[in-house]
Assembly symmetry: C2
Homo-oligomer: 225 residues x 2
DNA sequence: GTCCGATCTGGACAGCGTTTAGATAGATCA
DNA sequence: TGATCTATCTAAACGCTGTCCAGATCGGAC
């Protein structure tokens, strides 16, 4: 009876998401597919993330996803989207927890790189998708998204950019730098150095601290002082 | 008759596609395959670079490459190796042509990014391979290779790193920064900005000049001055 | 001149992304 | 209530991929 009732109810609203017996035609697949994709990404790496594998993991036929996503790329985009959202959260948290606005920018960078390091397969998909479409997802660019927060943090740190453009360029430079380090920090040839510095995060902070030496601006400052 | 002769000859050496007579059993395939790979990379992009396509382009069967490369990855590695060598050359040239040692580091960065921009498919393969093995090819790290030159240029610019480690960190920071910009400079969302600044190279230089703002070092210098 | 070992082919295998035709079942309207 | 509509899903097929195998081919050493 109770079972009948719940079944009826479940049927009526067509969901019953996480675990419990699969209800309906086949639950809401979109979400299930994205979840399956992330599961595969975490357990088997980005190379195993085939459309068929995702469908298998979700318990549907290989053609089923095509009723929810135009093609494989669109599914991966959805997975990547989740990643960008979480990266945005991680950055917001790092910013909130920073000891002072002055160090917030660095903390954002560290959080960004840590996210990439803790979710390597996901980060790879995120950037692969971004490169293919040559764009970041909308919400990653907005103020509440990952990158938008950098500009705010820079201003909060007391920087006085000479123009809107100046600020924008700092933001882009920060972004590129973080991405570059994020992609390379796992390279084996840095392992000795990491140990020497007392861990990976220390290494990341050391590299971030040395970025400035390179720029014309930094050199100008050096000569001025 | 002539037809018979040429046919016989062709049969004897079995194909002779491009131009000059291929020597031997089938010429030295290794080199031909790498060349074919680069050709495909340039004309059809990195996604079209399948083992079978390379074999087709070189005029051999899909199994032939396996007598010269353990698997597809090893072939791509060879293609990437050529890329790293050429990138090293481009950097050396930029360094040689720099107006002064003081600007050489920036010029190296610009040359690096320009190379990536002019050979996007090749650069992608280069980094995909590096990421998979988590290492750069040997010769890219040596002094005569691309990255090794950065340290020399930094010293030549008059920088006085406090230690071997300090220099190494600057080098790594430079490398990561260049890579990050190289991968993102093609993004559509920067197009307006590029126009505003008068071209892509101007944009790259502007971003490079703004990198320093981010680092703790730069901030310290700012406060000191 | 015969044999060896390197090189290449043709065919096969499983797995991939994608498309098509047809089955299933919730929702809608009579 | 029952018939119909529409979204969803399956089964089967296509051509592509990377890789392996048995066998053909041929340059070079004995």
């Amino acid at each position: 009876m109770a079972d009948d009732a719940t079944t009826a109810q479940r049927t009526a609203k067509r969901i019953a998401p996480a675990e419990a017996p699969k209800p309906y035609h086949h639950g809401d697949l979109s979400r299930a597919l994205v979840a399956a994709g992330r599961r595969i990404l975490e357990t088997e790496g980005p190379d195993a993330l085939s459309l068929r594998a995702v469908a298998r993991e979700a318990g549907v036929s290989p053609a089923a996803p095509y009723h929810h996503f135009k093609d494989k790329g669109e599914l991966l985009d959805a997975v990547a989207g989740e990643g960008w959202r979480e990266l945005g959260d991680a950055i917001a948290q790092a910013r909130a927890e920073a000891a002072s606005p002055a160090v917030a920018v660095t903390e954002i960078g560290v959080a960004y790189i840590r996210f990439a390091r803790e979710n390597p397969a996901l980060y790879r998909i995120m950037y692969r998708m971004a490169c293919d479409r040559k764009t970041m997802p909308e919400h990653a660019r907005k103020a509440e998204g990952g990158v938008g927060q950098v500009a705010e943090a820079i201003l909060a740190a007391g920087a006085q950019p000479t123009s809107e453009l100046d600020l924008h360029l700092i933001q882009i430079a920060a972004w590129c730098t973080a991405h570059g380090i994020a992609e390379m920090v796992a390279f084996k040839e840095f392992e000795e150095l990491k140990e020497q510095l007392g861990g990976e995060e220390a290494f990341v902070r050391a590299v971030l601290a040395h970025v400035g030496i390179l720029s014309g601006t930094a050199r100008a400052m050096l000569q001025a002082s």
